[in-house]
């Protein structure tokens, strides 16, 4: 049984397909980076309130993490995109839906909110691995709780959790592909579009795979550089 399929790798760089892919890559990068900014900031905040001394704050943090962790990302994305505008009431919702590029903004926000819940867990674990005595030492020099967190604990914890954060950073780029379901023209969307025009989806998706691999390598390299620059001497590291 011979393969009745003729490979056409040219779809990857012939015009206009090549340009499509490049535009898609650019959008993937945007989604990942902007989403990460939200995820990082929000995640640190939520991770911190999870270990704060006030019960209701802790509960809020736990609730956030549980909700955003247990609902699949696709469902979250659809909720914000389809149901989100309706939350603003009858009159506003039409104006929101008329925003051009709404799907782009929704995707970034959704990615940020989702990934924040995961970052929060890593931050919490990072705090947990810092000995109690560090907290007490900082407080005993007269710092307030907020100052202690800001100048001592958070910077310390962040360095410890660089490896798991690298994984989350990689994951956010992978999850950006889900945005194609609401029409965001990123890499995966483009490879699908190339298939619908040329019927050479195999080559297109293989090309997309290579793109994500390269992106992943770049992220790992970047975080590796960060890790070595911020390494804390005396703590167990890799190799």
């Amino acid at each position: 049984m011979g393969l009745a399929y003729k490979f056409d790798w040219g779809v990857l760089w012939r015009q206009p397909y090549g340009v499509w892919l490049l535009k898609g890559i650019w959008l993937t990068i945007q989604l990942g980076l902007l989403g990460w900014i939200i995820a990082f900031a929000l995640g640190i905040f939520i991770g911190t309130i999870r270990i704060s001394p006030w019960r209701w704050l802790r509960f809020l943090g736990t609730a956030y993490v549980e909700v955003f962790r247990n609902v699949p990302f696709l469902v979250q994305l659809f909720f914000w995109y389809f149901a989100g505008p309706m939350l603003f009431g009858h009159s506003l919702q039409f104006r929101i839906n008329a925003i051009i590029g709404l799907n782009y903004y929704v995707a970034i926000v959704a990615l940020g909110l989702y990934t924040a819940s995961r970052v929060a867990e890593h931050v919490r674990a990072g705090f947990g691995s810092i000995a109690r005595d560090q907290y007490q030492a900082a407080l005993s020099t007269g710092l307030t709780e907020v100052q202690m967190y800001r100048y001592v604990i958070i910077p310390y914890a962040l360095r410890i959790i660089i490896p798991p954060l690298t994984t989350e950073f990689l994951t956010i780029f992978k999850n950006s592909s889900v945005a194609m379901t609401i029409g965001v023209a990123e890499t995966t969307f483009m490879s699908y579009k190339i298939d619908s025009e040329t019927f050479h989806g195999l080559e297109a998706t293989t090309g997309a795979m290579v793109i994500y691999l390269i992106l992943g390598l770049a992220v790992v390299k970047l975080m590796g550089i960060l890790e070595s620059r911020f390494r804390i001497a005396g703590l167990v590291g890799r190799k």
Partner: protein, 218 residues
Amino acid sequence: MRMFDAVAKNISFLLGGYWITIKLTMFALAGGISLGILVGLGRISKKKWVYYPVTFYVNLIRNIPLILVIFWFYFVMPIIVGRPLDPFPSAVISFIIFEATYFGEILRAGFQSVSKGQIDAGYSTGLNYIQTTRYILIPIAVRRMLPSMITQSIVTYQDTCLAFVIGLHEFVRRTTIVDNFEVRSIQLFGFVAILFLITCYISSVVSRRFEVKRERGY
């Protein structure tokens, strides 16, 4: 419950989709864990011709998005089989290949945690490689990694939504279909979200109880 009337009206259609979600999850787990055991064993193999291909496969799949893997198989399978494939089998294969890498890494950690002495003890009574692997290595590793395996199973369950993109009539796709003519998005997607929230939360609570039970000295 006037609040969820759109859901109630279409409940059987929606739950039909949920059933497909469950079926896909079951197949994906059965295949993913079985293949995952082989992947884990391959990753600790001393034979180069086993270790390198398996490591390449694992590192490849773990770096690309699941949607892409789903598409890729959707495009590849017809070429190999010679005719277009239904979304369900295509999705099952994609998920098995994808999840096996994650289960494989979990099991690898489990295998590496079994003390060499126990395997030696098995060999010293005359058991061969397959017997020591089957009766000693795998059972101990699986019991140790049970919490992680449950967590990963929950992730697989959540991932099945993505089969949406090749037209599989699972839960989320059916919800979007209903949403198209009911336009009661908050209810409908809220319903999906709540269902997942409840099922996943309960599963993770169960998994935490397994971690406590592990104090039995494994």
